[in-house]
């Protein structure tokens, strides 16, 4: 028997074992999450948990609405800030900037991606929170400590710049030059070509980038936790404190064991996060894959 073939078979067996073990582990994890959440769902109605706004575990009331709303507020604010900035910057990098500028800026953006979230949190506490509390708040006539969903949104926005820009730039680079020429040769200005032709053609890819940005923003725990105030209330304005879902899990795991159903509640929160982010990631990957297939 050929030794090479034996080696090959050996490798095949062992590697496939790794793959299938990891698949099994993932399945076990998901099952575990679900199993742990079941007690809570059995005790209270699923619909009630998701729409109830009182969070008072000691009294046995587990309303998740403030956290869901907190997460939504923070994510929305970050998107409002980040999406226009990223689209504008990506268009500039691909259509207007010279090669030198492009090769300098893109690596810088990647460095942003490497910075650990806790450092963003530190920056948020050092800069964003005081800025909001001392300048922006009073500007709008609001009294605030600065620990707000707005702060959370700003910090998140900076955190999702890198992933959105890198995908948007890639997408914009696939637009064929002849399409742009077709518009230009009709007498359109470059900007008109961008808004009426390029962005329209790139819309699916840009959307996928945004969806990925959303899923990143949803799951970010630490940076937001440090600046958003951690008060379980439904935010009514930008300057209210909030309490996003990940922060809930992070802050309370210590008390989990002492209060009945608390651990199940936190596992449910984790399950909720898992499902939402799973869904978003799936969606954007499908869109991106479809685009990749069309391009080649």
């Amino acid at each position: 028997m050929n030794w090479r073939l034996i080696k090959d078979k050996l490798v095949e067996r062992s590697f496939s074992l790794l793959l299938f073990s990891s698949l099994i582990v993932i399945a076990l994890i998901l099952t575990g999450l679900i199993v742990k959440s079941v007690p809570l769902i059995q005790a209270e109605h699923l619909g009630k948990i998701l729409t109830e706004s009182v969070w008072s575990p000691l009294k046995g009331s587990f309303g998740f609405l403030p956290f869901i709303m907190g997460t939504i507020w923070v994510t929305l604010i970050s998107l409002i800030i980040a999406v226009p900035l990223c689209v504008l910057a990506s268009v500039y990098l691909v259509e207007y900037a010279g090669d030198a500028l492009r090769s300098m800026v893109l690596p810088l953006v990647n460095v942003l991606a490497a910075i650990p979230p806790v450092l963003y949190g530190v920056w948020g506490v050092l800069f964003v929170v005081p800025l909001l509390g001392q300048f922006v708040g009073p500007l709008f006539g609001v009294e605030t400590t600065g620990y707000t969903v707005f702060a959370g949104g700003v910090v998140l926005a900076v955190m999702i710049f890198p992933i959105m820009i890198s995908i948007m730039v890639e997408v914009l680079q696939t637009i064929p030059q002849e399409l742009k020429n077709a518009s230009l040769s009709l007498g359109a200005t470059k900007w008109e070509t961008v808004t009426k032709v390029i962005l329209i053609k790139a819309k699916p890819g840009l959307l996928a980038a945004v969806v990925l940005g959303i899923s990143r923003a949803f799951g970010e725990t630490v940076a937001v936790l440090m600046v958003c105030g951690n008060i379980p209330q439904i935010p009514k304005s930008f300057f209210d404190a909030g309490y996003p879902l990940p922060a809930l899990i992070a802050n309370n795991f210590g008390e989990m064991m002492s209060i009945p159903l608390y651990d199940s509640a936190l596992m449910f929160a984790a399950l909720l996060l898992f499902v939402i982010i799973f869904g978003f990631n799936l969606l954007s990957r499908i869109i991106l894959n479809k685009l990749e297939a069309k391009a080649s």
Binding site: L179, S185, L186, G187, E192, K196, K201
Partner: protein, 269 residues
């Protein structure tokens, strides 16, 4: 082997002298990233006729075409000296406004590139950009141009559907209609039938011959037979220089220059 003088036949010279040429190229030199692509081009393109630019691959014919509507501006590392006069105005003058110039030229590129919108919006794109908002006027423009290119009957019931659903031959006609909608004076074609099947090719060629009554047409082609079929004049470009320029029959059947002779050798009409 260098061709240092370009040869213009007497007939062509007469034609040019008759009216102010639409397009005059004077001392045009184009360098891309240090490499000289076009050298000392001096030409006048005759009005209301079809002029084909022929030559081997890489000789600069597409670059020459692109200098006419300044699409060459976007090429990396490009340097242009000389002037191109359209109706007497130099389009490379310092204060020349590019979108205005491009409006005068319609470009038909090699592969049809419909814009990502409906058939109607494709044709209305140009007029809308240049300020036309009136819905009725736009409808008329769309219908007129679609009739011009013979597409009206085929698409009149689905003007709102996406242009990418058309066949490739239909798409190229759409692009022609789109270009005509901005009322150019000059039509530029960059190997505009090489992606099409023989029947669509014939349709486009017939259209161009029809259109030369009202437009000056400059085509780049590498198919000598096509040049013979449709053009009135031929410019032969070799290594970035104009080697020969004259009436189609003269250049193709009785070339004066050695290089031209070599290139068209074996071409039997």
């Amino acid at each position: 082997m260098h061709a240092s003088t370009s040869i213009q036949t007497a007939e062509t010279q007469d034609l040019i002298n008759l009216s102010t040429p639409h397009i005059q190229i004077k001392d045009l030199n184009v360098t891309i990233e240090g490499k000289r692509i076009l050298k000392d081009i001096n030409l006048s393109i005759p009005n209301n006729s079809i002029t084909s630019i022929i030559g081997p691959s890489g000789c600069g014919k597409t670059t020459l075409l692109k200098t006419l509507n300044r699409l060459v501006d976007d090429t990396k590392g490009v340097e242009i000296t000389g002037s191109v006069l359209v109706n007497g105005e130099d389009i490379y003058a310092k204060d020349a406004e590019v979108t205005h110039i491009r409006k005068k030229m319609g470009l038909l590129s090699q592969k049809p590139f419909p814009l990502p919108m409906s058939i109607f919006d494709n044709i209305a794109y140009g007029p809308r950009i240049h300020g036309e908002r009136n819905k009725e006027v736009l409808k008329q423009i769309v219908e007129r141009q679609l009739r011009n290119v013979g597409l009206w009957e085929e698409v009149k019931d689905r003007l709102e559907s996406s242009a990418s659903r058309l066949s490739i031959g239909q798409q190229q006609r759409l692009c022609l209609a789109r270009g005509l909608a901005v009322q150019p004076e000059i039509i530029l074609g960059d190997e505009s039938t090489s992606a099409l099947d023989p029947i669509s090719t014939q349709t486009i060629e017939n259209l161009l011959v029809e259109l030369k009554k009202d437009y000056t047409i400059v085509l780049v082609t590498h198919i000598l037979r096509q040049a013979r079929r449709v053009s009135d004049h031929i410019i032969f470009v070799y290594a970035g220089e104009v080697v020969e320029f004259g009436r189609t029959e003269d250049v193709l059947l009785n070339p004066q220059n050695e290089i031209t002779k070599q290139y068209v050798k074996g071409f039997i009409s």
